[in-house]
Amino acid sequence: MTTIDWIVLIVTLIAIISYGLYKSRTSHNLDGYFLSNRSMPWGLILLSIMGTQASAITFISAPGQAYTDGMRFVQYYFGLPLAMIIICIFFVPIFSKLKVYTAYEFLENRFDGKTRVLTSFLFLLQRGLSTGISVFAPSIILSSLLGWNIYWTNIFMGGLLIIYTMSGGAKAVAYTQQLQLIIIFTGMFLAAYMVVNMLPEGIGFTDALKVGGSLGKLNVITTGISDKGFNWSDQYNLLSGIIGGFFLALSYFGTDQSQVGRYLTARSIRESRMGLIMNGFVKVPMQFLILLVGVLVFTFYQFNQAPIFFNQKQVRNIENSVLKDSFQLARSAYDRVADQKKIVVAEFLGAKDGDNELLAEEKTSELKILQKRSDSLRSQVKKWIGSSAVNGDSNDTNYIFMRFVVDYLPVGLVGLLIAIIFLASWGSIAAAINSLASSSMVDFHRKFTRKKESGENEYQLSKWYTLGWGIFCIVVAMFTYNIGNSLIEAVNILGSLFYGVILGVFLVAFFFKRIKNGNAVFFGALLAELLVLTVFLLTKTKPEPILKIGFLWLNPIGAFGVIFFTLLLNSFFVKSRKHKAPAH
């Protein structure tokens, strides 16, 4: 990084921290600290919801995802707008009416204390670990790309935001997220503009789409249906996006305190609803545009030499291993295919411009063959990197966009894009730490301590909880580095294992009014969790998985599992009560 890039990075980060501290003044009680005195307008709610959901990985990983797998990942978000509607109709009015601090507080009101504690505990476990990973994931990428020390990167990634999050609570989180998103979108727009600008002369945006499309990267809508019928293990298609994505979004926005805590800060139900509805409008187009940047980067690399593997650290490792000669051969072959592709891409665009559809089709076929060859060479290199000879991380999707940024973007913009990684991380981590503190304080501390604390004391304690969770997340990030990538995968899966069950408890609470038995819901949730874990384990059997389903389907399984077991147990409890009841 140049001095100018460093200046841009440091100034941006200091500006955010200062702004967060400036906006930190709030009343010294739980209402002020966790709910901003319920004073936020819908615009801030919208940006806060978006800033909480969009982590650094969203901006780093999504373009890489489009580069490797095309744009079909956008379908993952199709269920989100529908989930927003359900939350506006059913969740928001009840949370608001009961004036809860956390979503789980409502469950004690509806069922009993142990159901509240169970769901809150699952939330703390899942969110605490995944936030630690959210600190680690962008840190390891920046550390690999720029040669930074991973421990210090973790501390800066997870530590600086604690300053304003601890000081100003939910209010500081929301205001900084607003500024962060403005900077993030400006940076991403500039990056997209620069990619198109750096394409060879005479090749514009539409040409870039034609090239990306001809190589299968504009596969925005896919059905998941093949000759063998519907593929249940296919992660991203129209059906899994709408159904699986709906349940995932419903549980995330409706029952995860890191999101519920954002719209509870609204000054009225109207403002909460408008924030959520607007999120339903903007999320899919926003994700589409981020993925489009990945397609543009892919097209850029059809005219410029792309690395065979984007994580340079792993490239250095393989170059120093027994596989170095094989790797050199593969790299030379990959470069030769890339040279051939450049010629065919130019011929393809010439045919398109001259309206020669027959020639364009012929060139598309040639391009596809060449792309297949380069994909197979990349796969071979990935296999080698993952093998025992190198023992490295064979997935370079998260490095594609940032490698492009560091190698090709002009001075100043590199610093801004790296700042964006920090800001996106801070936005989601700050909201997560704030929600972990609120759940610890309200669902556990307040519930289990007999002594009634004053507002000022609760405010001070909440600050300590915020600091404690901030440190916990950094510690998790440090351990992740020692343990390796297997933990990242495990924690990513952890969300899907618990989200459906938590959602199921809330669905029973909202839609099955006649069920009042806390035991039925509590044990129903435990059985459903057992079901989800069994299904998950059946997808992991070796050598062949017994069940082949994508992880998104675990959410509806968990949710419907809770409903099914609760109804079953409830009827059992009702019958046994009738038997015990004395005859009149």
């Binding site: 956008v74 009015p93 990306g212 009225s268 609803r273 339903g280």
Partner: protein
């Protein structure tokens, strides 16, 4: 938070907003489908 029966902006009922979200999603899916057909 204030009253539950607050009116939404622009429309007389929240239902209109909800339908608008659904129609917008359908429109996006159709546009994405056309884009896929056109370029892929």
């Amino acid at each position: 938070m204030q009253s539950e029966k607050e009116k939404p902006p622009l429309f007389s009922s929240w239902d209109y907003w909800y339908w608008l979200v659904v129609f917008f999603l359908i429109l996006l899916i159709i546009l994405f489908y056309l884009l896929t057909q056109r370029f892929a």
